[in-house]
Amino acid sequence: MASVTLSRITKVYHEHPVLDDISLEVAEGEFMILVGPSGCGKSTLLRMVAGLEEITDGEIRIGGQVVNHLPPRDREIAMVVQDYALYPHMTVAENMSFGLRLRRLPKDEIARRVDEAAGILQIQSLLGRTPRQLSGGQRQRVAIGRAIVRKPKVFLFDEPLSNLDAKLREEMRVEIAKLHQSLGATILYVTHDQVEAMTLGSRLAVMNGGLIQQAGAPAEVFSRPANHFVAGFIGSPTMNFIPGAAAGGGFQSPDLSFKLDGRNSVSGPVVLGVRPEGISVDKAAGEGWSEPVPAVIEVVELLGYKRNLYLKAGDQRLLAVADASFGGKPGDTVSMRFQLDGIHLFDKETKKRL
């Protein structure tokens, strides 16, 4: 186990900047999630930690040691990637023991570690098979097993679950969480999946455009997004955004206006963000909620335990969430209220949280 420190990492591909001045500290034993849209440089960053990609500028330390010029084999890391990358000409057992055999560990030690990992991942019965004879989920288990037996200082995961179907993904997600609890290992985990990002990590870093937009505990990033991008990226369904202006402790847009509490200091052009759960259509006046704003229901979706309501106030479209028992129909006019402490204001220019 070791910490990972990224200091001012920059990556340029053929004069095309991909990562720009990334700094991030992953503590020993921490489960750190890197999340962001496709193409934002997550894999590139992870591969730089692994030593598979040159570092254009900056410094990477693993356990305090600068590893910039160390080849992957000397970094004591293990990596699990999206396409599994199992060696096709080796059995499962040979795949798992490959790294240990390279390091010339004693035979009985190798056998012990492979057995142990196979036990944890419940793949004992597969040890004699080749990768071709495995299902996708089994292959992913083997890939994880191959990482575990090495007892690396750091585990790197690059979207390990994205090739699995929804049910398997859920299963493996829980397994990976358990694995982290039992191994206590340092993990850097790349994903673009909301649920993995929110549930797996002890901390998450949201990336976009080659920058880390925000790093923090999942709950903190969710409840206090640092900017417009993070607010829109984290959370599902997505946050509603209403462009408008703040003045004199209130919010105004061409389509709606209401009083904000305790934000008299903010004024000027803003984007207001409110999550679907923060809009209510059947709430009586009450502490912590805004005055009513009229809106028309466009579409109602029943999701079992709740309903998605697609609303329109003037030209402004909004998504709200209501109980399954809510009886409104498309075309009905409703009074919506905003939960005041769930309202986020972002500067219209800088997109930063106000």
Partner: protein, 277 residues
């Protein structure tokens, strides 16, 4: 629909059978000639096993000529050539497949270009090179000449095959603890046996059947390959057709065995299942 598919099938098979006959016929004629008794070498008899068939020609080619020595010379030169040729092509093809370096594209194109030049035109420059290297009339000279002339084809075959092997396998190996060469040696090479076998067979058959280069490089009769040796049988006044045919049949045997042996390596599909999909 089914009718048309059937007609197509029949036509296809007829064409294949015809092609087989055309390619097998000369071989059968050769066997037939080798079995004829001495007095009927020039007969126009078409039967595969001629009347009064005898193995006398085989006995004579083995006993009265240096056939076994020629065979041995060919075998040594061809085997060493094939191993050297494949080793060079395996590493060069890997570089062309995996690394971008100045001239990598141009290099590949030039290699292909060499294949467009008729072998005869290369004979003189090749001979001059071998002479300057002081390798005239040596096995080594032959081996150098043969292994480099087969290189372009072998490199292309191997480069093309490596291109189909996902890089993520080598990256996994690097992370697992191999060096760059280790990843090539332990992962890429074992997965490339089909292409390696094809390159080996190509090198082997090219060198085995070669005549022109051998003619100019080798002058000492004790170093003759079978191609040179058999042509010796073409006498000034009388060609020993029976012995010639018998020798020709015997030299196909090693190639035949090699093809049979390597067929198990030609089976592809090993890379399936290592990575997704």
């Amino acid at each position: 629909m089914a009718e048309r598919a059937r007609a197509k099938n029949v036509l296809l098979h007829a064409a294949l059978v015809a092609a087989c006959i055309v390619s097998v016929y000369p071989m059968l004629r050769m066997i037939a000639v080798s079995l004829r008794p001495g007095d009927r070498l020039l007969s126009t008899d078409l039967s595969l096993i001629p009347a009064g068939a005898s193995l006398a020609a085989y006995g004579r080619v083995l006993a009265e000529t240096n056939f076994l020595l020629w065979l041995w010379n060919s075998l040594v030169i061809t085997t060493v050539t094939s191993f050297i040729g494949v080793s060079l092509a395996a590493t060069a093809g890997y570089a062309f497949s995996r690394f971008r370096f100045p001239g990598s594209k141009l290099g590949l194109t030039l290699l292909l270009g060499t294949q467009m030049i008729p072998a005869g035109m290369l004979l003189l420059p090749l001979f001059l090179m071998i002479m300057r290297l002081g390798l005239v009339n040596t096995y080594l000279g032959m081996i150098v000449a043969y292994s480099v002339t087969s290189l372009p084809f072998s490199i292309w075959i191997l480069k093309g095959y490596y291109d189909t092997i996902p890089r993520s396998l080598e990256e996994a190996a690097l992370v697992d603890g191999t060096t760059r060469f280790g990843a090539f040696y332990r992962i890429v090479l074992p997965l490339s046996t089909p292409a390696l076998s094809i390159a080996f067979l190509f090198n082997f058959t090219q060198a085995w059947n070669e005549y022109l280069v051998a003619r100019v490089v080798l002058c000492d009769a004790s170093k003759y390959t079978w191609t040179l040796g058999l042509f010796e049988l073409q006498g000034q006044f009388l060609t020993q057709w029976g012995m010639f045919a018998a020798g020709s049949f015997l030299v196909t045997i090693p190639v035949l065995l090699l093809f049979l042996y390597s067929s198990k390596w030609l089976v592809s599909g090993l890379t399936l299942g290592g990575v997704k999909g």
